[in-house]
Symmetry: C2
Subunit: 289 residues, 2 copies
């Protein structure tokens, strides 16, 4: 699956002019991301009866949206990170102006890619438009952009539990949940199936974030590694610092279980998606306390 | 027309949480822009037999795309402008981080708006998807983002004529041309009509930019005012500084005439679009030399 995704991303991001812009876009897309969100989208689509051809453009788009958000989040005016996955961040490599443009370019390309796909879907065009709408909502100012704006407003402040949950829901869960739902929609799943995917995704996303916060504390970040969008810093509030390690572990277990139950109730044609969801939960220390 | 556009933008940008993000998005959208691109889109659509209802979401989207590009172009890492249309730029009002996010929010909202519109277009959905595709291509890394990246790479350098034409084509003409073409597509115009709109828009856009450069020199910026996306600075090469004032004037006259001829050959149901194109040409000094 990852090989197919990377090959398609290579095609969509084939080098062209202006060289430095496309180099910057490629640099971040091929910087070792685990392709989690596109796998969730494609896995949901295939597992529910859709085809890889239908899923691929949308899966690549979701990875571009994710990558654009990382590039912009890392900027000095935001989280000011010099490293991402052990490599210099985009603005460290290409300068701030080009990093902003690389992000803008990827975001636009994500929509260009989805719209082009919609245009050749024939009588399934409605599914494509719906899937793209769901991803747009998750990416935008009622989703990831909203979450990040609350994040930068909370910088160096003590935040309350509600604010942390809002940030996690919008920065992390929104796109994970939208990936699952969009995959289902592309496969033609009905409203109740789409709702299950959405809700499972929200829980999966929050569990994934809590796992990150727990791993951060216990420093056992081998296994699957930290979520790619981790921007937790020592001066930032985390699920663990606000709710305590016991509550974090209990919530994590509950959310993981609930998301697996919600996904398990659907009519899967293969085991890929459930396996992937389970893999996302691996690596949490059994005795974190 | 402008009143209808503003009313629709008000609806799409109705205040919501997070307050500061939406305030920043609204600030730039309602900062006195002349709504040129959305008028071109809606004017082309209506004049070729489409309805205002069909045009509005796409017209608003094109204004959001234009505004996002202004916010990001003004950033310190790009053109570093403190003022835009006599008012503090977004990052001066809200800080750099929030300005980047306001731009990101507007860009996403543009696509959200177009995709939502496509979703309710029934058997005309294909037109909506095509129109959105055209705008996405013009906005992205083969259009405006490409133009801006060449622009920041050319900062404080002497550029050649080819580079200036590339920048003008991508930064200014691309979205103007796409607005006209998308409007026609939404009205259901055929391939040859769409081609005429596209080519007329490219010429109209370049003429508009040369007019800006001419007005910049002669400082007669009353009349229609300078194009909203003017970011010319004294240390930047312009059409006039590279080609000379005589050649600039001659090219301007020729392009204006050619664009009007191309538009004049189409089967318009009203005179709005041709009137608007003519207004875009007003204000160039007759004796600039």
């Amino acid at each position: 699956m990852i090989r197919i995704l990377n090959a398609e991303l290579e095609k969509l991001l084939a080098m062209r002019d202006p060289i430095i812009l496309w180099e910057a876009m490629r640099y971040s897309v091929f910087a070792g991301g685990k392709r989690l969100r596109p796998q969730l989208l494609a896995g949901a689509c295939l597992g529910l009866g859709g085809s890889i051809e239908e899923a691929l453009p949308f899966a690549c788009a979701v990875e571009m949206i994710h990558t654009y958000s990382l590039i912009h989040d890392d900027l000095p005016a935001m989280d000011d990170d010099d490293l991402r996955r052990g490599m210099p961040t985009s603005h460290k490599m290409f300068g701030q102006g080009m990093a902003i443009l690389a992000g803008d370019g990827l975001l636009n390309l994500a929509y260009e890619t989805m719209l082009a796909a919609c245009g050749s879907m024939g009588d399934k065009m409605g599914r494509g438009v719906k899937a793209a709408s769901i991803l747009a909502k998750a990416a935008g100012s009622s989703g990831m952009v909203a979450g990040q704006s609350v994040d930068i407003l909370s910088e160096n402040k003590k935040i309350d539990e509600r604010t942390l949950l809002y940030m996690h829901a919008n920065k992390t869960s929104a796109l994970i949940s939208a990936s699952l739902e969009a995959g289902g929609i592309l496969a033609g799943c009905g409203a109740s199936c789409a709702k299950s995917l959405k809700e499972a995704g929200e829980k999966l996303g929050l569990a994934f974030q809590i796992r990150d916060d727990l791993l951060d504390i216990t420093e056992t970040t081998e296994n699957l590694g930290k979520p790619a969008n981790s921007d937790l810093k020592s001066n930032k509030s985390t699920y663990v610092s606000l709710f305590g390690i016991e509550r974090a572990k209990a919530d994590y277990e509950r959310l993981s279980l609930e998301s697996e139950e919600a996904l398990g109730g659907l009519d899967w044609k293969d085991g890929f998606l459930l396996g992937l969801a389970r893999k996302m939960h691996k690596g949490v220390p059994q005795k974190a306390e």
